[in-house]
């Protein structure tokens, strides 16, 4: 490869100096965004009118953001997401702790857990609607049952993989049971717990939208589904995009910040 400017590496680097000014993360983010917009643009030409154009969608987004009923749906859905996320996280974490620490509980719950993880989410949704009707409870129930097993599984396996030498230390120094749980076990699980929570948050909001589309008269999912029935594809795209961005901001902003704070003892 005689043409490579190996003999003049400094000149070679010089040309790329401007890139060094932009942080790598921002750069790759920008490249990703541009690629998505490009693909979207091509698809909107290829699949007209089913894929809306970028500018039409942006305009629809602007309209939605100024619309009261959009915000009503948005906060309703957000409330449902947070409620089922909280319930699934708490139920899942507590169950995971119990199963991980207790062999009898493990023997009892393990097959159930395997089953729960294998059942496709729509099955939960359908059965919940059959069991408690299409009210607010059905979605909440379906979501909690669908998401909690993931949290349980992650917590359980991390309880098993805990550092037993710290348990011995706790035993030697007579740390009370509550302290062992709070200061020895749970901090060890924290990294996994936070991953589980991110995962369960993402799963929660996606499922809430599906549940709303199937069984609720209101909320973001219902609004997307209604627009779809009326073949108003730009509204479908606009509402979906706003909601996805909002959920991403929540996940990264809030959960990310919590993570930084709780794991600050790490390198």
């Amino acid at each position: 490869m005689p043409d490579l400017p190996l003999s003049n590496p400094i000149g070679f680097v010089r040309k790329r100096d401007w890139i060094a000014v932009v942080p790598a993360r921002v750069l790759s983010g920008a490249i990703a965004l541009i690629s998505i917009l490009l693909i979207w643009h091509i698809m909107s030409i290829a699949f007209r009118p089913w894929v809306p154009t970028i500018d039409a969608t942006l305009m629809a987004m602007g309209r939605a953001l100024q619309n009261h009923s959009f915000w009503d749906d948005f906060f309703l859905t957000l409330g449902r997401v947070l409620a089922s996320f909280a319930a699934a996280s708490i139920v899942g974490a507590v169950l995971g702790l119990i199963i991980g620490l207790n062999e009898k509980a493990e023997a009892f719950f393990q097959p159930l857990l395997a089953l729960a993880l294998a059942v496709p989410d729509p099955v939960y949704i359908i059965f919940s609607i059959l069991a408690v009707g299409t009210g607010e409870m059905a979605g909440f129930l379906a979501l909690t049952i669908a998401v909690a097993p993931f949290v349980t599984n992650i917590v359980r396996s991390n309880v098993h993989a805990r550092d037993k030498s710290l348990d011995e230390m706790a035993q030697i120094y007579h740390l009370p049971r509550s302290v062992r749980l709070r200061s020895v076990l749970i901090p060890q699980l924290m990294p996994a717990l936070l991953t589980a929570m991110r995962f369960s948050f993402a799963l929660s909001w996606k499922l809430v939208v599906v549940v709303e589309a199937i069984g609720q008269p209101d909320g973001i999912g219902a609004s997307i589904f209604n627009s779809f029935r009326l073949l108003r594809m730009r509204e479908v795209a606009a509402v979906a995009i706003i909601f996805i961005i909002a959920m991403q901001l929540l996940e990264r902003g809030v959960l990310g910040r919590v993570e930084k704070k709780l794991l600050r003892w790490r390198d």
């Binding site: 030498s165 710290l166 030697i172 120094y173 302290v179 790490r266």
Partner: protein, 265 residues
């Protein structure tokens, strides 16, 4: 008071430890008195840590008995002993600062809360790690962490203290200073200490008595009373003499493991 009339703190009777099929400790009998500093010497893998895990109450022996202050361990009614244990690895909680790690042990001890702060400050300064009081353990060096672990064991007014090679991760200069401090602390507090080490000179300098073990599975090879009065000087020729004497005795029974060490010593 002569040694024989002092109360027994830690007594092992016909003690054995096996892991599944393999025997780690064959048979140990010893009686450690209040205020005694006993060093344990034995080739690597002979079962020293296994022995500490049993006499600390962590692991039931596969045979024999352990008595702490004349109360038998591992029976239904026995209370867990109150001891300090410097594990071979530091075993600090990485999500708690140095001070918080010490406080969590103090909180479970009988030490009155009003005295914690002063005690912590004192012990950290003795161990030359005062400046790390509010540091996360992950940001400390191996030797600094080990010293926090020593501080934790000394702070809680234990009936006895087990130390598993506590100074092996330190540079020689720091180790010397800590050996000296350790002698001082133990004399002032009349602590009962079981101290596992690979350094024969360290054992001779620190201990009243050295339990020399055989190759694994461990038995007592010799219960060796250190024939030196205190205070001692680490560079004293007599310490070197006693060290050489012990090396001569163990050379054959320790086999290969010893030949490596004697070439260093």
């Amino acid at each position: 008071m002569t040694q024989e009339t002092r109360p027994s703190v830690l007594k092992a009777v016909n003690l054995g430890v096996t892991y599944g099929q393999s025997e780690a400790v064959a048979q140990l009998d010893f009686d450690i008195k209040r205020g005694e500093f006993v060093a344990i010497l034995g080739p690597s893998g002979c079962g020293k840590s296994s022995m500490l895990n049993v006499i600390s109450g962590l692991r039931a022996p596969s045979k024999g008995r352990v008595l702490v202050e004349d109360e038998e361990l591992f029976t239904a009614q026995s209370k867990p002993p109150r001891l300090g244990y410097v594990f071979q690895s530091h075993r600090l909680l990485p999500w708690r600062t140095v001070r918080q790690n010490l406080e969590i042990a103090l909180a479970a001890s009988q030490v009155p809360r009003g005295t914690w702060e002063a005690r912590i400050d004192e012990i950290l300064s003795i161990l030359h790690i005062s400046q790390f009081k509010d540091a996360w353990p992950m940001r400390l060096s191996g030797g600094q962490r080990q010293r926090v672990s020593i501080a934790r064991a000394l702070l809680i007014d234990p009936s006895y203290i087990l130390m598993d090679e506590p100074l092996s991760t330190l540079d020689e200069v720091t180790a010397r200073s800590l050996r000296q401090e350790l002698t001082g602390i133990c004399q002032r507090t009349n602590a009962t200490v079981v101290f596992v080490t690979h350094s024969i000179r360290e054992a001779v300098y620190l201990a009243d008595r050295i339990l020399i073990l055989t190759k694994g599975p461990a038995r007592i090879f010799e219960d060796y009373k250190v024939p030196l009065e205190r205070p001692r000087d680490y560079d004293d020729a007599r310490i070197a003499e006693v060290e050489a004497d012990i090396i001569r005795r163990v050379q054959a029974p320790w086999g290969l493991a010893m030949r490596e060490e004697s070439s260093v010593a």
